[in-house]
């Protein structure tokens, strides 16, 4: 990775990269079954588009460069797919992926900001959007051009602090703030809809003064286009992309299962899935 901020990674096939990340994430989980696999498979296209699609400015050699776009990964447990992405982009060595959850590794079951590339504490849900709103306010008041991205789950929106932040961001017209909801429709004990429904989330956020787009979260081109659109839109409103995804995407028995969060696919199932990826 060059020391320059990454603006575009030319010639990257985002769909192929997403496949690679999917396989690497499963490999990590096979070695470290403590990791949450189902919720880490739903946001892959989101993160791949952000990091390989020229959406985020970042510098892997200087993770806290003031010129970077901020990316707050609020759904911490469900972002193990970021480990191969960050390693691939040079935030740390690929060999670290072999040591996830092992003694001495900084790659745990729930990512913390001791990992180069992570901005905030993420294990407890519902904090990222508020912290990101503070970052966005600071950047806006300082007349700095960087954008702030936040990735949450849809179950995570049960936490009331999110709605304090949602109201705050629209009140202050934080149009440098981009929320991406990995809407995999599933919390820990079942479908979000059956627990406490977010209703028509897009409509709900729009009624709170946000600009919203809905997208198929596994259509990487669509996700990429939505992210670029969101980033470039500065219309005085905070913005949200609701990405409809499947928890456990691509893993039979896990995909879209009500209890996928607490299920681990058997090692041989993973081995079968990974055939052809070697």
């Amino acid at each position: 990775m060059s020391a320059h901020l990454k603006k575009e990674i030319a010639g990257i096939d985002l769909a192929a990269k997403a496949k690679w990340v999917w396989a690497e994430t499963l490999r990590i989980h096979r070695r470290a079954p403590e990791t949450r696999i189902a919720s880490s498979l739903s946001p892959i296209e989101i993160f791949v588009s952000l990091y390989y699609g020229g959406v985020l400015n970042f510098d892997s050699q200087q993770p806290y460069s003031p010129d970077r776009d901020r990316c707050v990964i609020s759904k911490g447990h469900g972002s193990i797919c970021m480990y191969p992405i960050l390693a691939d982009l040079g935030f740390f060595g690929m060999e670290e992926l072999e040591r996830v959850c092992e003694t001495g590794s900084f790659l745990g079951g729930i990512p913390d900001p001791i990992i180069p590339g992570y901005e905030t504490i993420n294990g407890s849900l519902g904090h990222g959007l508020g912290v990101a709103s503070g970052m966005a306010l600071g950047l806006a008041r300082g007349e700095r051009p960087q954008s702030v991205f936040v990735v949450t789950g849809d179950g995570e929106l049960h936490e009331g602090a999110n709605w304090e932040a949602i109201m705050f961001a629209s009140q202050h017209g934080l149009d440098n703030l981009n929320l991406i909801v990995d809407n995999n429709s599933t919390a820990m004990l079942g479908y979000t809809e059956d627990i406490v429904s977010n209703g028509d989330l897009s409509k709900r956020l729009c009624s709170f003064g946000w600009e919203c787009w809905e997208v198929d979260g596994h259509d990487v081109s669509a996700v990429h286009a939505a992210l670029l659109k969101s980033k470039s839109t500065r219309g005085g409103k905070p913005k949200a992309i609701i990405a409809y995804t499947l928890k456990g995407h691509g893993v039979p028995g896990l995909e879209n299962a009500a209890l996928s969060h607490i299920r681990n696919p058997a090692p041989e199932v993973i081995d079968d899935l990974l055939k052809g990826f070697e």
């Binding site: 905030t120 508020g130 503070g134 304090e164 109201m167 705050f168």
Partner: protein, 328 residues
């Protein structure tokens, strides 16, 4: 000329207003809580002031985000709300995060103890010291008058990390008429005594001074120490000062024996291997809804001047007796 009594928050905010002129990194965040001085800050620095509304969870998270962007943040709300409504935000976004990423966030809580006298137990605050000192990364400060409170402002701007300042809501008499004490030790000896020492914080320092005067009338000379840095006092310095006493009495406007200043001192004495006897005076655990003046409420919960004098007199006779003569 001795300073005229002022509300702690007004002294603190005046100092802050003054400093915002020269330090462009100071950002003020309020949870819909004000003061006349705050009106000036809002008017003169609209780009570095924000009112998040009645939303303490967001107050903390927004403050964390601003601090990550390099601002020195002052977050302002009523004491029980800024500590207890948003405790997990403080833990996660300030205490945990500050261990990895440097940040300067100062939580200014107004309404220590019973200082919102007629507002009842939702607005009164007897648990904040306990829960805030449970977070190792958070400094807890408790000034006894506006002179110390004002001086703490400079400490806050010049030192990184999350801090909690517990300010009284009422205008209290000035203790430090000759100027603010050195904050370095975290405490100040206000009166020397012979065998017993009263160690108090916040409003209770005033009670301790009054009680000391009353006790002197019956021949009991007690020392008085004002502890204003609850988490960051100089242990060696305090050990030295306490060395000349046989007994220690803690006074706090918070629940007794629930992890507050008393628990901290019991722990401290244990760790330094002191054989000194200690007696803790704090609010009788339990919530009360009765109305009355602050002095009346304090007597009801056993922390008023009369209650303190009676308790110290009782302790004075036992304190000089070793717990187990065989150990002495």
């Amino acid at each position: 000329m001795s300073p005229k009594p002022l509300a702690m928050r007004d002294a603190f905010l005046e100092r802050l207003h003054h400093e915002m002129v020269v330090d462009e990194r100071i950002f003020f965040v309020s949870a819909d809580f004000g003061s006349p001085v705050l009106d000036k800050i809002r008017a003169n620095f609209p780009d570095r002031f924000v009112n998040v509304g009645i939303a303490e969870q967001n107050l903390i998270n927004v403050s964390a985000g601003l601090a990550l962007e390099g601002y020195k943040v002052f977050a302002y709300a009523i004491a029980p709300f800024i500590t207890m409504r948003c405790f997990e935000q403080i833990r996660v976004s300030l205490a945990l995060l500050s261990q990895v990423r440097p940040m300067n966030v100062n939580l200014i809580g107004v309404g220590a103890g019973y200082s919102y006298v007629v507002s009842g137990p939702t607005h009164q605050c007897y648990e904040d010291i306990t829960i805030m000192r449970a977070l190792p990364a958070v400094e807890v400060m408790s000034p006894s008058d506006h002179v110390v409170a004002e001086k703490m402002f400079d400490y806050c701007t010049n030192n990184m990390g999350p801090k909690y300042l517990r300010l009284d809501a009422q205008v209290l008499p000035v203790i430090y008429e000759g100027g603010a004490p050195d904050l370095q030790d975290g405490f100040q000896v206000l009166r020397e005594g012979s065998s017993l020492c009263l160690l108090a914080t916040g409003f209770m320092t005033h009670t301790a001074l009054e009680a000391a005067t009353e006790l002197a009338k019956v021949g009991i000379e007690v020392g008085v120490i004002d502890l204003f840095a609850i988490s960051g006092f100089d242990e060696a310095a305090l050990k030295k000062v306490l060395g000349s006493y046989k007994g220690l009495v803690s006074l706090e406007e918070g629940f007794r024996a629930r992890g507050g200043v008393d628990s901290m001192l019991f722990d401290f004495l244990g760790r330094i291997g002191s054989m000194m006897r200690m007696y803790n005076i704090g609010v009788d655990p339990g919530y009360r809804f009765e109305l009355g003046s602050r002095a009346e409420l304090h007597e009801q919960v056993s922390i008023g001047v009369n209650a303190v004098v009676a308790k110290v007199r009782g302790f004075a006779s036992s304190a000089t007796t070793p717990i187990n003569p065989a150990l002495s």
